[in-house]
Amino acid sequence: MTAPALQIARECPYAPPAQHVEMRENGGVSRVRLPSGKEAWAVSRLDLIREMLSDPRFSSDRDNPDYPALTTEPPPPPSAGSRKLLIQLDPPDHAPARRAVISEFTIRRMAALKPRIQEIVDERIDAMLAGPRPADLVEALSLAVPSLVICELLGVPYTDHEFFQTRTAAILHRDTPPRERGATYAALRAYLTELVCGKVREPGDDVLSRQLAAGADTEDVVALALLLLVAGHETTANMISLGVLTLLERPERLAWLIADPARMPEAVEELLRYFTIVEYGNSRVATADVELGGVLIRAGEGVVSLSNTADHDPEVFPDADELKLDRGARNHLAFGFGPHQCLGQNLARAELDVVFTTLFRRVPTLRLAVPADELPFKSDATIYGIHRLPVTWDE
């Protein structure tokens, strides 16, 4: 008997697919067929996903041919000589590589960065208000703010933002043919190699230059730059768009939220849980026979994490399909779990806090310029979001 095909796209932007919920209610470890035709396991319960992500017998190496890719065709083989990204490394290689860069993303460093994030957000809002109505919030704010911030941190010229934004979108689009995805990665690597070589000759005041100064070799710094650049703008951009949309659709709760800025951190946390946009990103491949939730997973089998479904489990989060801005629960999987949990999570929290607080304060008449049911949601990408968010306001 063949396993059922795993449904990948969401039917509803705000809730996991019914198929995934059924899997969660039936034990949480289910046999599924991937778009490639290969079979794998889908894990849909928060405790089991946490257990798997903490177990070193599950590898996160996306170059492993048994890694459960969600594309119809297998991913291109890694190009010769290019270093693995931090998110692909297993023990014992992962810890030292991550430790080399954690200090750049501590709570204290992110708090110190907040005034600069505030300036960037204010500049983007000034530019949006000075431009035509309606505006696409995705271009005007959602993509611009995290791109500007990560560019400053890494020492990447923002003038190149179109180059890396369009290529990142192509990488994250599920239907991009493998050959094109490989070529896109290669183009980004070539761009960043040139950039990093420039920093070898002429160091700047940025993360990449500091990695070089600490003795990291050029290839490792290129791999780090690639990961931080790709992961550092598109994810936060999608959360900004989804968050703004969701709050605009709930005017009473928005009014409650902005009445006291101290409420924002909990609201950000709840929006992160509610959307869990990196819903399949915590997938793994077993390197040994492991029992998970009473099911034997064999070495070489792939395991797909249904993180959004886990984050909508009413046994863990009461009334889980409801957005409760004061829920105060941070035990969600929006940033993953285990040693690979998002390195930039506190940067994302800071950016979301400043954007939501500032946008709704400065543009109190902000509203959607099209009906919400006409919005193009990213059911075709590996990270959930909205392609365009037309908004308008009163002068």
Partner: protein, 65 residues
């Protein structure tokens, strides 16, 4: 209560600092968590338990009593 922090396991996510910044901090040099207070008062139990639950590396243990 006594808190045990395994610095070798720590991955520097900062979750413990978000949960209880009077008990946990991150070293500026490498971002790894450090204890500001190894024996916090019982009134901090809830916050410290949250830190232990949220720690993605499961590097925090609490010895009660």
């Amino acid at each position: 209560m006594k808190i045990l922090l395994d610095e070798e396991k720590c991955v520097g996510a900062g979750q413990c600092v978000l949960a209880a910044d009077d008990v946990f901090d991150q070293r500026d040099s490498d971002g790894i968590a450090v204890l500001l207070d190894e024996n916090p008062g019982e009134e901090r139990l809830g916050a410290v338990e949250t830190a232990a639950q949220l720690c993605p590396a499961q590097a925090i243990r609490i010895e009660k009593g």
